[in-house]
């Protein structure tokens, strides 16, 4: 097995433009003590790496870098692990090329 060089997603997100709606996260993770398998999946499946484990082993989200693809909605909304809405009009990622 070859060892993967680490990809820095933060650097990729730095190319993008955002208008952050401070204090109004459009995705919310349901409070939990132990994360569900669906939530744990998001640690790897989110293309913007918005989901992270905190030091208590719970899954947290920071939506500032979200590119609004909807993958976490497809995986986690049905089980109630997350609440998913679109950002308010005009906010969120602003694609220059798309």
């Amino acid at each position: 097995m070859s060892i993967e060089p680490s990809v820095r997603v933060e650097d990729k997100l730095f190319y993008n433009r955002y208008l952050v709606d401070a204090g109004r996260a459009h995705i919310k993770v349901r409070p939990h003590t132990t994360p569900s398998p669906e939530l744990l999946t998001m640690l790897k499946a989110c293309p913007a790496r918005c989901y992270e484990l905190n030091d208590k082993g719970q899954v947290e989200i920071t939506v500032d870098g979200c590119i609004e693809c909807g993958t976490c909605r497809v995986i986690c909304e049905e089980s109630g692990d997350i609440e998913w809405s679109y950002p308010r009009g005009g906010y969120g990622v602003l694609f220059k090329f798309g």
Binding site: T41, K44, A45, R88, G89
Partner: protein, 435 residues
Amino acid sequence: MIEEKFDAIVVGAGMAGNAAALTLAQRGLKVLQLERGEYSGSKNVQGAILYADMLEKLIPDFREDAPLERHLVEQRFWMMDDRSHTGLHYRSDDFNEEKPNRYTIIRAQFDKWFSQKVREAGAIVLCETTVTELAQDAYGKVIGVRTDRADGEIHADVVVLAEGVNGLLGTRAGLRERPKPDKVALAVKEMHFLPRETIEARFNLRGDEGMVIEAAGTISRGMTGMGFIYANKECISLGIGCLVADFQRTGETPYGLLDRFKRHPSVAPLIEGSEVKEYAAHLIPEGGFKAIPQLYGEGWVVVGDAAQLNNAIHREGSNLAMTSGRIAAEAIFQVKSRKEPMTAENLSLYKTMLDQSFVIKDLKKYKDMPALMHTQSQNFFLTYPELVSKAMQNFLRVDGTPKVEKEKTTFKSFIKARSWSGLFGDAFRLARAWR
């Protein structure tokens, strides 16, 4: 609250929404189009290839001022293993025609232009407005929408849901299901900028000629997926997508896949020295014919990606979106002309008309392909690409081995990997699904 009542509200300003709003406005209907981005295009992501025929039906002289990148003269299909690709290339000077058939485009720029045409036709386009809910009467009939603006609810005779693959409204109102992980792919994409001359030299292009590469194989690590490389004027769109269910199953990361694709020895020289200016991700409907939801109801129709109208085999989506938007608008216009209400029964005309178009006919033809590709993903995306690469190398490498022995080696490698019944079964299943 906007007191005015509209003939139609179109939710979303992508390909389907713009086609619907334009057609409705051209027919003289009072149309309001709502878009959550700062302009039409700022939230829209695609490869992207534009199919001229479907746009010509909406805007015949689009070539005069649409922001087009390159017209395609060459298509390359690559079957890849970790160190090689086996290619099928088609290039023809016939594609250098007066009215080319396919172009590369950049969606944020193209959609902005498309939206201008919608405004010129007379529709009201309200951007930076997120629709939060459908407004329904006591009987469940859709009578309008609610937005995140202070003036709240807006009414119309019919609502066209062009809200995209991840549309929330239809699901929230119980009109269709949320897309399932095995029915949508997640694609990630980067825009790589290079000088125009460099792109033309690397891809063997002159002037505005363009080419695209569609790639499959070990790049998707046994998942159902594909990579793509599209030449624009001064940049290259490069991306890769796989089924969400496969990401879930394997724990692969989308950016890890993209990175490996970029570092592949067949790809790396094509983007060497480029400057990346954007990183995007988007879902793609992959469920095909069997995933199409209910397309109409009391006071509503659904079009484009929101209706899962995407041909995964031919990589066509935007043209199905445009066509479904136009046909829905034409059906609405016909109902309106007869001065009849926008009931489910009357709006079923949309489905009747769509069934007769290439949109449903093509999706029906490939109705069994998604399931085959998903259940056989290890074979089609890992085993066969590796076998083909070994066979090609064995065929080409000159090392004194008699050709008869070389052929035997290749033949045995296929039997060993898939067995007789496996090979025949795969061929049979593929032929049947393709029929």
